[in-house]
Protein backbone atom coordinates (compact mmCIF):
# COMPACT_ATOMS: atom_id res chain seq x y z
CA UNK A 1 0.00 0.00 0.00
CA UNK A 2 1.46 3.31 -1.05
CA UNK A 3 1.61 6.19 1.29
CA UNK A 4 2.13 9.84 0.50
CA UNK A 5 5.02 10.17 2.91
CA UNK A 6 6.82 7.24 1.40
CA UNK A 7 8.97 7.28 -1.67
CA UNK A 8 7.90 8.19 -5.17
CA UNK A 9 9.09 6.70 -8.44
CA UNK A 10 8.64 3.37 -10.13
CA UNK A 11 11.66 1.49 -8.71
CA UNK A 12 10.87 2.51 -5.19
CA UNK A 13 7.20 1.62 -5.53
CA UNK A 14 8.09 -1.79 -6.91
CA UNK A 15 10.29 -2.39 -3.89
CA UNK A 16 7.43 -1.42 -1.62
CA UNK A 17 5.09 -3.79 -3.37
CA UNK A 18 7.46 -6.65 -2.70
CA UNK A 19 7.97 -5.95 0.97
CA UNK A 20 4.71 -6.49 2.82
CA UNK A 21 4.14 -3.84 5.45
CA UNK A 22 3.38 -4.95 8.96
CA UNK A 23 -0.10 -6.37 9.47
CA UNK A 24 -2.18 -3.81 11.28
CA UNK A 25 -5.10 -5.32 13.10
CA UNK A 26 -8.02 -3.13 14.05
CA UNK A 27 -10.35 -5.68 15.57
CA UNK A 28 -9.67 -7.00 19.02
CA UNK A 29 -12.62 -8.14 21.11
CA UNK A 30 -14.59 -11.36 20.93
CA UNK A 31 -17.63 -9.67 19.43
CA UNK A 32 -15.50 -7.96 16.80
CA UNK A 33 -13.90 -11.26 15.90
CA UNK A 34 -17.34 -12.89 15.63
CA UNK A 35 -18.55 -10.10 13.35
CA UNK A 36 -15.40 -10.37 11.24
CA UNK A 37 -15.95 -14.11 11.00
CA UNK A 38 -19.50 -13.63 9.76
CA UNK A 39 -18.42 -10.84 7.46
CA UNK A 40 -15.88 -12.99 5.66
CA UNK A 41 -18.59 -15.59 5.06
CA UNK A 42 -20.63 -13.18 3.01
CA UNK A 43 -19.00 -11.13 0.26
CA UNK A 44 -21.21 -9.45 -2.29
CA UNK A 45 -19.41 -8.60 -5.49
CA UNK A 46 -20.33 -5.58 -7.51
CA UNK A 47 -21.15 -6.94 -10.94
CA UNK A 48 -19.30 -4.31 -12.89
CA UNK A 49 -16.95 -5.47 -15.61
CA UNK A 50 -14.34 -2.81 -16.18
CA UNK A 51 -12.20 -4.74 -18.66
CA UNK A 52 -11.82 -8.02 -20.47
CA UNK A 53 -11.09 -9.91 -17.23
CA UNK A 54 -14.79 -9.70 -16.44
CA UNK A 55 -15.28 -12.64 -18.77
CA UNK A 56 -13.70 -14.88 -16.13
CA UNK A 57 -16.30 -13.86 -13.58
CA UNK A 58 -19.22 -15.47 -15.39
CA UNK A 59 -17.95 -19.05 -14.99
CA UNK A 60 -16.91 -18.14 -11.46
CA UNK A 61 -20.44 -17.17 -10.48
CA UNK A 62 -22.26 -19.94 -12.33
CA UNK A 63 -22.44 -23.68 -11.88
CA UNK A 64 -18.95 -24.62 -13.04
CA UNK A 65 -16.99 -22.89 -10.30
CA UNK A 66 -19.85 -21.88 -8.03
CA UNK A 67 -18.50 -19.00 -5.97
CA UNK A 68 -21.64 -19.10 -3.84
CA UNK A 69 -20.00 -21.96 -1.92
CA UNK A 70 -17.78 -19.29 -0.37
CA UNK A 71 -20.62 -16.88 0.20
CA UNK A 72 -19.52 -14.85 -2.79
CA UNK A 73 -22.44 -13.68 -4.87
CA UNK A 74 -23.16 -10.80 -7.17
CA UNK A 75 -24.80 -7.59 -6.02
CA UNK A 76 -26.61 -5.38 -8.46
CA UNK A 77 -25.71 -2.03 -6.99
CA UNK A 78 -22.63 -0.56 -5.29
CA UNK A 79 -24.75 0.22 -2.23
CA UNK A 80 -25.12 -3.46 -1.45
CA UNK A 81 -21.68 -4.66 -2.52
CA UNK A 82 -18.68 -5.48 -0.35
CA UNK A 83 -16.12 -6.26 -3.01
CA UNK A 84 -15.30 -4.31 -6.13
CA UNK A 85 -13.41 -6.34 -8.72
CA UNK A 86 -11.31 -4.30 -11.10
CA UNK A 87 -11.40 -6.83 -13.89
CA UNK A 88 -8.49 -5.92 -16.13
CA UNK A 89 -7.36 -2.64 -17.63
CA UNK A 90 -8.91 0.62 -16.58
CA UNK A 91 -9.34 3.34 -19.16
CA UNK A 92 -9.41 6.86 -17.79
CA UNK A 93 -13.08 7.06 -18.64
CA UNK A 94 -13.77 3.89 -16.66
CA UNK A 95 -11.61 5.06 -13.77
CA UNK A 96 -14.03 7.87 -13.08
CA UNK A 97 -16.95 5.47 -12.88
CA UNK A 98 -14.95 3.07 -10.75
CA UNK A 99 -14.07 5.80 -8.26
CA UNK A 100 -17.71 6.89 -8.12
CA UNK A 101 -18.88 3.30 -7.58
CA UNK A 102 -16.22 2.68 -4.97
CA UNK A 103 -17.23 5.74 -3.00
CA UNK A 104 -20.87 4.68 -3.09
CA UNK A 105 -20.09 1.36 -1.46
CA UNK A 106 -20.75 1.04 2.24
CA UNK A 107 -17.88 0.21 4.55
CA UNK A 108 -16.29 -2.23 5.08
CA UNK A 109 -15.45 -2.56 1.41
CA UNK A 110 -12.68 -4.31 -0.43
CA UNK A 111 -11.11 -4.12 -3.84
CA UNK A 112 -9.73 -7.06 -5.78
CA UNK A 113 -7.58 -6.17 -8.78
CA UNK A 114 -7.62 -8.81 -11.45
CA UNK A 115 -4.94 -9.34 -14.06
CA UNK A 116 -1.56 -7.83 -14.82
CA UNK A 117 -3.11 -4.69 -16.30
CA UNK A 118 -4.08 -3.51 -12.86
CA UNK A 119 -0.60 -4.09 -11.46
CA UNK A 120 1.67 -2.48 -14.07
CA UNK A 121 -0.46 -1.81 -17.11
CA UNK A 122 0.12 -5.25 -18.59
CA UNK A 123 -0.12 -5.21 -22.35
CA UNK A 124 -1.30 -1.62 -22.14
CA UNK A 125 1.93 -0.49 -20.50
CA UNK A 126 2.48 2.26 -23.08
CA UNK A 127 -1.12 3.19 -23.73
CA UNK A 128 -1.95 6.87 -23.43
CA UNK A 129 -5.33 6.49 -21.78
CA UNK A 130 -5.01 3.42 -19.58
CA UNK A 131 -4.28 3.51 -15.89
CA UNK A 132 -1.06 1.65 -15.13
CA UNK A 133 -1.29 1.18 -11.37
CA UNK A 134 -4.78 1.05 -9.98
CA UNK A 135 -3.40 1.24 -6.47
CA UNK A 136 -2.59 4.91 -6.93
CA UNK A 137 -6.25 5.83 -7.41
CA UNK A 138 -8.21 3.42 -5.26
CA UNK A 139 -6.83 1.13 -2.55
CA UNK A 140 -6.43 -2.47 -3.66
CA UNK A 141 -6.69 -5.24 -1.09
CA UNK A 142 -5.81 -8.26 -3.20
CA UNK A 143 -4.03 -8.55 -6.51
CA UNK A 144 -4.59 -11.58 -8.69
CA UNK A 145 -2.00 -11.70 -11.42
CA UNK A 146 -2.23 -13.33 -14.82
CA UNK A 147 -3.53 -12.38 -18.21
CA UNK A 148 -6.21 -13.36 -17.58
CA UNK A 149 -6.35 -15.27 -14.29
CA UNK A 150 -8.46 -18.39 -14.32
CA UNK A 151 -11.55 -18.62 -12.09
CA UNK A 152 -9.55 -20.90 -9.79
CA UNK A 153 -7.11 -18.06 -9.22
CA UNK A 154 -10.01 -15.75 -8.48
CA UNK A 155 -11.34 -18.19 -5.92
CA UNK A 156 -7.85 -18.30 -4.42
CA UNK A 157 -7.94 -14.52 -4.21
CA UNK A 158 -11.32 -14.55 -2.52
CA UNK A 159 -10.13 -17.09 0.01
CA UNK A 160 -7.07 -14.94 0.74
CA UNK A 161 -9.32 -11.92 1.19
CA UNK A 162 -11.55 -13.90 3.53
CA UNK A 163 -8.54 -14.90 5.60
CA UNK A 164 -7.51 -11.26 5.87
CA UNK A 165 -10.99 -10.20 6.94
CA UNK A 166 -11.15 -12.99 9.47
CA UNK A 167 -7.84 -11.93 10.99
CA UNK A 168 -9.22 -8.44 11.36
CA UNK A 169 -6.54 -6.85 9.21
CA UNK A 170 -6.96 -3.26 8.18
CA UNK A 171 -8.75 -3.10 4.85
CA UNK A 172 -7.90 -0.82 1.97
CA UNK A 173 -10.81 1.41 2.84
CA UNK A 174 -8.98 2.48 6.00
CA UNK A 175 -6.07 3.60 3.86
CA UNK A 176 -8.42 5.39 1.51
CA UNK A 177 -9.99 7.28 4.35
CA UNK A 178 -6.68 8.11 6.02
CA UNK A 179 -4.95 9.16 2.80
CA UNK A 180 -7.91 10.62 0.97
CA UNK A 181 -5.97 13.74 -0.03
CA UNK A 182 -3.19 11.71 -1.61
CA UNK A 183 -5.65 9.56 -3.54
CA UNK A 184 -7.63 12.58 -4.64
CA UNK A 185 -4.46 14.35 -5.82
CA UNK A 186 -3.53 11.30 -7.89
CA UNK A 187 -7.01 11.11 -9.33
CA UNK A 188 -6.97 14.79 -10.18
CA UNK A 189 -3.60 14.37 -11.88
CA UNK A 190 -5.02 11.96 -14.46
CA UNK A 191 -8.64 13.02 -14.63
CA UNK A 192 -8.21 16.79 -14.45
CA UNK A 193 -11.51 18.53 -13.94
CA UNK A 194 -13.27 15.26 -14.74
CA UNK A 195 -12.64 14.08 -11.18
CA UNK A 196 -15.87 13.16 -9.35
CA UNK A 197 -17.37 16.14 -7.52
CA UNK A 198 -16.39 16.85 -3.93
CA UNK A 199 -19.69 15.82 -2.38
CA UNK A 200 -18.96 12.22 -3.30
CA UNK A 201 -16.10 11.96 -0.86
CA UNK A 202 -16.28 14.91 1.56
CA UNK A 203 -17.86 12.71 4.21
CA UNK A 204 -14.45 11.08 4.53
CA UNK A 205 -13.23 14.39 5.90
CA UNK A 206 -16.09 14.57 8.35
CA UNK A 207 -14.05 12.09 10.35
CA UNK A 208 -16.37 9.78 12.18
CA UNK A 209 -18.04 7.69 9.53
CA UNK A 210 -21.42 6.37 10.60
Amino acid sequence: MYHKTQCEGFQCEQAMLEVPDGVEAVREGVLDRLIAWMRQKSLFVLAYGTGCGAIEMRPLMTSRFDAERFGVIGAATPRQADVLIISGYLALKTLRRVIRSYEQMQEPKYVIALGSCTINGGMYWDSYNTVKQVDRYIPVDIYINGCMPRPEALIEGFVALQARIKNGEKGGYHHYRENIDWYKANQRKVLGDQVPPAYTYDWYHAGDVA
Binding site: I35, M38, R39, K41, S42, F44, T62, S63, D66, E68, R69, G71, I73, A75, A76, T77, P78, R79, Q80, A81, D82, Q104, M105, Q106, E107, P108, W203, V209, A210
Partner: protein, 304 residues
Protein backbone atom coordinates in the same frame (compact mmCIF):
# COMPACT_ATOMS: atom_id res chain seq x y z
CA UNK B 1 -44.83 -10.64 31.44
CA UNK B 2 -46.08 -13.72 29.64
CA UNK B 3 -47.14 -11.58 26.67
CA UNK B 4 -43.71 -9.96 26.42
CA UNK B 5 -41.81 -13.25 26.56
CA UNK B 6 -44.27 -14.82 24.15
CA UNK B 7 -43.94 -11.96 21.66
CA UNK B 8 -40.16 -12.10 21.78
CA UNK B 9 -40.29 -15.86 21.34
CA UNK B 10 -42.53 -15.49 18.30
CA UNK B 11 -40.22 -12.95 16.73
CA UNK B 12 -37.21 -15.15 17.43
CA UNK B 13 -38.91 -18.27 16.07
CA UNK B 14 -39.99 -16.53 12.88
CA UNK B 15 -36.52 -15.07 12.38
CA UNK B 16 -34.71 -18.36 12.90
CA UNK B 17 -37.17 -20.26 10.73
CA UNK B 18 -36.85 -17.50 8.14
CA UNK B 19 -33.13 -17.66 7.64
CA UNK B 20 -32.99 -21.44 7.83
CA UNK B 21 -35.77 -21.82 5.25
CA UNK B 22 -34.12 -19.35 2.91
CA UNK B 23 -30.74 -20.97 3.47
CA UNK B 24 -32.30 -24.27 2.54
CA UNK B 25 -33.88 -22.64 -0.49
CA UNK B 26 -30.53 -21.38 -1.71
CA UNK B 27 -28.92 -24.76 -1.19
CA UNK B 28 -31.71 -26.63 -2.96
CA UNK B 29 -31.60 -24.14 -5.80
CA UNK B 30 -27.87 -24.72 -6.09
CA UNK B 31 -28.32 -28.50 -6.20
CA UNK B 32 -30.92 -28.15 -8.93
CA UNK B 33 -28.37 -26.14 -10.88
CA UNK B 34 -25.76 -28.87 -10.25
CA UNK B 35 -23.54 -26.94 -7.86
CA UNK B 36 -22.89 -27.16 -4.14
CA UNK B 37 -24.32 -23.88 -3.02
CA UNK B 38 -23.78 -21.98 0.22
CA UNK B 39 -24.24 -23.33 3.71
CA UNK B 40 -27.68 -23.32 5.25
CA UNK B 41 -26.61 -20.45 7.52
CA UNK B 42 -25.71 -18.21 4.59
CA UNK B 43 -28.74 -15.95 4.96
CA UNK B 44 -27.93 -15.40 8.61
CA UNK B 45 -24.36 -14.40 7.72
CA UNK B 46 -25.58 -12.06 4.99
CA UNK B 47 -28.10 -10.48 7.31
CA UNK B 48 -25.60 -9.99 10.13
CA UNK B 49 -23.04 -8.57 7.73
CA UNK B 50 -25.54 -5.97 6.56
CA UNK B 51 -26.39 -5.05 10.14
CA UNK B 52 -22.73 -4.33 10.85
CA UNK B 53 -22.06 -2.31 7.74
CA UNK B 54 -22.06 1.46 7.66
CA UNK B 55 -24.96 3.43 6.28
CA UNK B 56 -23.69 6.71 4.96
CA UNK B 57 -26.37 7.90 2.61
CA UNK B 58 -29.54 9.77 3.43
CA UNK B 59 -32.49 10.70 1.29
CA UNK B 60 -34.46 12.52 3.95
CA UNK B 61 -36.36 11.14 6.94
CA UNK B 62 -38.81 9.03 4.93
CA UNK B 63 -35.96 6.98 3.52
CA UNK B 64 -35.13 5.96 7.08
CA UNK B 65 -38.71 5.58 8.33
CA UNK B 66 -39.85 3.49 5.35
CA UNK B 67 -37.89 0.37 6.38
CA UNK B 68 -39.00 0.97 9.98
CA UNK B 69 -42.65 0.99 8.87
CA UNK B 70 -42.10 -2.23 6.90
CA UNK B 71 -40.34 -3.78 9.88
CA UNK B 72 -43.17 -2.74 12.22
CA UNK B 73 -45.63 -4.24 9.75
CA UNK B 74 -43.73 -7.53 9.76
CA UNK B 75 -43.54 -7.61 13.58
CA UNK B 76 -47.24 -6.93 14.02
CA UNK B 77 -48.17 -9.48 11.38
CA UNK B 78 -46.08 -12.09 13.15
CA UNK B 79 -47.69 -11.20 16.47
CA UNK B 80 -51.25 -11.47 15.15
CA UNK B 81 -50.81 -14.87 13.50
CA UNK B 82 -51.22 -17.68 16.05
CA UNK B 83 -48.32 -20.09 15.58
CA UNK B 84 -49.73 -22.94 17.67
CA UNK B 85 -53.20 -24.15 18.53
CA UNK B 86 -54.36 -25.28 21.98
CA UNK B 87 -51.30 -23.72 23.54
CA UNK B 88 -50.51 -20.74 25.74
CA UNK B 89 -47.29 -20.12 23.88
CA UNK B 90 -46.52 -18.55 20.53
CA UNK B 91 -49.88 -16.84 20.44
CA UNK B 92 -48.80 -13.20 20.52
CA UNK B 93 -51.84 -10.95 20.40
CA UNK B 94 -53.78 -13.20 18.08
CA UNK B 95 -56.80 -13.42 20.37
CA UNK B 96 -57.34 -9.68 19.85
CA UNK B 97 -57.15 -9.89 16.08
CA UNK B 98 -58.69 -11.84 13.27
CA UNK B 99 -58.15 -12.67 9.63
CA UNK B 100 -59.42 -9.28 8.44
CA UNK B 101 -56.84 -7.47 10.55
CA UNK B 102 -54.12 -9.73 9.16
CA UNK B 103 -55.26 -8.90 5.63
CA UNK B 104 -54.78 -5.21 6.43
CA UNK B 105 -51.38 -5.80 7.98
CA UNK B 106 -50.14 -7.67 4.92
CA UNK B 107 -50.39 -4.44 2.89
CA UNK B 108 -48.30 -2.36 5.31
CA UNK B 109 -45.07 -3.71 3.82
CA UNK B 110 -45.60 -2.66 0.19
CA UNK B 111 -46.88 0.71 1.39
CA UNK B 112 -43.81 1.45 3.50
CA UNK B 113 -41.68 0.29 0.63
CA UNK B 114 -43.33 2.72 -1.73
CA UNK B 115 -42.86 5.61 0.71
CA UNK B 116 -39.17 4.89 1.29
CA UNK B 117 -38.26 4.23 -2.31
CA UNK B 118 -40.25 7.21 -3.55
CA UNK B 119 -38.17 9.53 -1.39
CA UNK B 120 -34.90 8.05 -2.66
CA UNK B 121 -35.78 9.10 -6.20
CA UNK B 122 -33.80 6.32 -7.84
CA UNK B 123 -35.49 5.49 -11.17
CA UNK B 124 -34.81 1.76 -10.78
CA UNK B 125 -36.33 1.80 -7.32
CA UNK B 126 -39.39 3.65 -8.51
CA UNK B 127 -39.68 1.24 -11.41
CA UNK B 128 -39.52 -1.66 -8.99
CA UNK B 129 -42.22 -0.16 -6.78
CA UNK B 130 -44.45 0.49 -9.78
CA UNK B 131 -44.05 -3.11 -10.85
CA UNK B 132 -44.73 -4.24 -7.30
CA UNK B 133 -47.93 -2.24 -6.99
CA UNK B 134 -49.08 -3.44 -10.40
CA UNK B 135 -48.52 -7.01 -9.33
CA UNK B 136 -50.28 -6.27 -6.04
CA UNK B 137 -53.32 -5.28 -8.09
CA UNK B 138 -53.26 -8.71 -9.67
CA UNK B 139 -52.50 -10.85 -6.66
CA UNK B 140 -54.55 -9.16 -3.93
CA UNK B 141 -57.94 -9.91 -5.46
CA UNK B 142 -57.57 -13.70 -5.80
CA UNK B 143 -55.62 -13.90 -2.54
CA UNK B 144 -58.29 -12.13 -0.54
CA UNK B 145 -61.01 -14.00 -2.40
CA UNK B 146 -59.34 -17.22 -1.25
CA UNK B 147 -59.20 -15.97 2.34
CA UNK B 148 -62.85 -14.87 2.07
CA UNK B 149 -63.73 -18.37 0.92
CA UNK B 150 -62.12 -19.80 4.03
CA UNK B 151 -64.02 -17.33 6.22
CA UNK B 152 -67.22 -18.21 4.38
CA UNK B 153 -66.65 -21.92 4.77
CA UNK B 154 -66.08 -21.74 8.52
CA UNK B 155 -68.42 -18.78 9.03
CA UNK B 156 -65.92 -17.03 11.25
CA UNK B 157 -63.02 -14.60 10.87
CA UNK B 158 -61.12 -15.95 13.86
CA UNK B 159 -58.00 -17.87 12.92
CA UNK B 160 -58.27 -19.77 16.21
CA UNK B 161 -61.78 -20.96 15.40
CA UNK B 162 -60.74 -21.96 11.88
CA UNK B 163 -57.83 -23.96 13.32
CA UNK B 164 -60.08 -25.57 15.90
CA UNK B 165 -62.54 -26.65 13.21
CA UNK B 166 -59.81 -28.63 11.43
CA UNK B 167 -59.24 -31.45 13.88
CA UNK B 168 -57.79 -34.36 12.00
CA UNK B 169 -56.54 -34.82 8.48
CA UNK B 170 -60.02 -35.30 7.00
CA UNK B 171 -61.07 -31.87 8.23
CA UNK B 172 -58.05 -29.95 6.97
CA UNK B 173 -58.92 -27.02 4.76
CA UNK B 174 -56.73 -28.63 2.16
CA UNK B 175 -59.16 -31.58 2.02
CA UNK B 176 -62.49 -29.89 2.68
CA UNK B 177 -61.87 -26.85 0.50
CA UNK B 178 -59.11 -27.70 -2.00
CA UNK B 179 -60.33 -25.17 -4.51
CA UNK B 180 -59.72 -22.31 -2.06
CA UNK B 181 -56.20 -23.62 -1.53
CA UNK B 182 -55.63 -23.64 -5.28
CA UNK B 183 -56.96 -20.08 -5.48
CA UNK B 184 -54.57 -18.96 -2.76
CA UNK B 185 -51.47 -20.91 -3.75
CA UNK B 186 -50.34 -18.88 -6.77
CA UNK B 187 -50.93 -15.43 -5.24
CA UNK B 188 -49.19 -16.80 -2.16
CA UNK B 189 -46.09 -17.63 -4.21
CA UNK B 190 -46.25 -14.14 -5.68
CA UNK B 191 -46.52 -12.53 -2.26
CA UNK B 192 -43.45 -14.53 -1.21
CA UNK B 193 -41.71 -13.09 -4.27
CA UNK B 194 -41.32 -16.57 -5.71
CA UNK B 195 -39.99 -17.08 -9.18
CA UNK B 196 -42.69 -16.97 -11.81
CA UNK B 197 -43.99 -13.77 -10.23
CA UNK B 198 -40.80 -12.13 -8.95
CA UNK B 199 -41.33 -9.07 -11.08
CA UNK B 200 -40.52 -6.66 -8.24
CA UNK B 201 -36.91 -7.46 -7.51
CA UNK B 202 -36.46 -8.82 -11.05
CA UNK B 203 -32.75 -9.60 -10.98
CA UNK B 204 -30.85 -8.08 -13.94
CA UNK B 205 -33.93 -6.34 -15.27
CA UNK B 206 -34.31 -3.52 -12.73
CA UNK B 207 -31.10 -4.19 -10.77
CA UNK B 208 -32.27 -4.69 -7.21
CA UNK B 209 -35.73 -3.21 -7.76
CA UNK B 210 -37.10 -1.25 -4.80
CA UNK B 211 -33.99 -2.02 -2.74
CA UNK B 212 -31.58 -0.46 -5.17
CA UNK B 213 -30.77 2.49 -2.89
CA UNK B 214 -30.56 0.52 0.33
CA UNK B 215 -27.24 -0.82 1.50
CA UNK B 216 -25.85 -1.53 4.92
CA UNK B 217 -28.12 -1.48 7.93
CA UNK B 218 -31.36 -0.51 6.23
CA UNK B 219 -30.93 -3.38 3.80
CA UNK B 220 -30.35 -5.64 6.80
CA UNK B 221 -33.65 -4.45 8.25
CA UNK B 222 -35.42 -5.08 4.95
CA UNK B 223 -33.91 -8.55 4.70
CA UNK B 224 -34.99 -9.41 8.25
CA UNK B 225 -38.55 -8.26 7.69
CA UNK B 226 -38.70 -10.18 4.43
CA UNK B 227 -37.72 -13.43 6.13
CA UNK B 228 -40.11 -12.87 9.05
CA UNK B 229 -42.97 -11.87 6.78
CA UNK B 230 -42.50 -15.00 4.68
CA UNK B 231 -42.72 -17.15 7.78
CA UNK B 232 -45.80 -15.28 9.00
CA UNK B 233 -47.55 -15.93 5.69
CA UNK B 234 -46.47 -19.58 5.65
CA UNK B 235 -47.79 -20.06 9.17
CA UNK B 236 -51.03 -18.32 8.24
CA UNK B 237 -51.62 -20.71 5.35
CA UNK B 238 -50.68 -23.64 7.58
CA UNK B 239 -53.25 -22.39 10.12
CA UNK B 240 -55.97 -21.98 7.53
CA UNK B 241 -55.47 -25.06 5.38
CA UNK B 242 -53.31 -27.56 7.23
CA UNK B 243 -55.01 -27.53 10.57
CA UNK B 244 -52.43 -25.50 12.44
CA UNK B 245 -49.86 -27.16 14.68
CA UNK B 246 -49.91 -28.31 18.27
CA UNK B 247 -46.20 -28.00 18.87
CA UNK B 248 -43.26 -26.25 17.32
CA UNK B 249 -41.89 -29.30 15.52
CA UNK B 250 -45.19 -29.99 13.80
CA UNK B 251 -45.34 -26.32 12.88
CA UNK B 252 -41.89 -26.40 11.34
CA UNK B 253 -42.73 -29.62 9.50
CA UNK B 254 -45.97 -28.32 8.03
CA UNK B 255 -44.55 -24.90 7.16
CA UNK B 256 -41.57 -26.61 5.58
CA UNK B 257 -43.78 -28.87 3.47
CA UNK B 258 -45.66 -25.84 2.19
CA UNK B 259 -42.41 -23.97 1.61
CA UNK B 260 -41.08 -26.93 -0.36
CA UNK B 261 -44.17 -26.87 -2.57
CA UNK B 262 -43.85 -23.17 -3.37
CA UNK B 263 -40.07 -23.49 -3.78
CA UNK B 264 -40.39 -26.29 -6.31
CA UNK B 265 -42.88 -24.26 -8.29
CA UNK B 266 -40.61 -21.23 -8.30
CA UNK B 267 -37.52 -23.21 -9.22
CA UNK B 268 -39.09 -24.65 -12.34
CA UNK B 269 -40.77 -21.61 -13.85
CA UNK B 270 -38.95 -18.57 -15.20
CA UNK B 271 -40.09 -15.04 -14.52
CA UNK B 272 -43.17 -13.63 -16.19
CA UNK B 273 -43.43 -10.06 -17.39
CA UNK B 274 -45.44 -7.72 -15.16
CA UNK B 275 -48.44 -7.56 -17.47
CA UNK B 276 -48.31 -11.32 -18.04
CA UNK B 277 -48.37 -11.86 -14.28
CA UNK B 278 -51.33 -9.53 -13.80
CA UNK B 279 -53.16 -11.09 -16.76
CA UNK B 280 -52.54 -14.51 -15.31
CA UNK B 281 -53.85 -13.53 -11.88
CA UNK B 282 -56.96 -11.95 -13.31
CA UNK B 283 -57.65 -15.01 -15.42
CA UNK B 284 -56.66 -18.24 -13.69
CA UNK B 285 -56.73 -17.76 -9.89
CA UNK B 286 -59.49 -15.16 -10.05
CA UNK B 287 -61.60 -17.28 -12.41
CA UNK B 288 -61.08 -20.23 -10.13
CA UNK B 289 -61.99 -18.02 -7.18
CA UNK B 290 -65.25 -16.89 -8.73
CA UNK B 291 -66.07 -20.50 -9.50
CA UNK B 292 -65.27 -21.42 -5.91
CA UNK B 293 -67.49 -18.64 -4.56
CA UNK B 294 -70.37 -19.91 -6.69
CA UNK B 295 -69.78 -23.44 -5.48
CA UNK B 296 -69.44 -22.41 -1.85
CA UNK B 297 -72.46 -20.10 -1.78
CA UNK B 298 -74.89 -22.04 -3.94
CA UNK B 299 -73.73 -25.53 -3.21
CA UNK B 300 -72.72 -25.39 0.44
CA UNK B 301 -73.13 -29.11 0.78
CA UNK B 302 -70.45 -29.63 -1.86
CA UNK B 303 -67.67 -27.80 -0.11
CA UNK B 304 -68.61 -28.33 3.50
Amino acid sequence: MHAVVDSLAMIAVSYVMGFLFYGFYRQLNARVQRRWGPSIWQNFFDNMKFFFKSETLTHGPMFFFGPMIIMAGAFTTVLFVPFLKDSDWLQGFSQYGNLILIIYLLVVGPLGNALAVGSSGNPFGVMGVTRGLTRLMGLEVPFFLGLALVMLQHETTSVHAIMAAQDGLANWGLVTNPIAFCVILLPFIASQNGSPFDVVGAPVEVYAGPRVEFGGRLLGVLMTQNMMMSIAKLVLVVDLFMGGATNILVLIGKAFALFLLTTVVSMVFPRLKTEQAVDFFWKVPLGLGVLAVILTVWLPSWSA
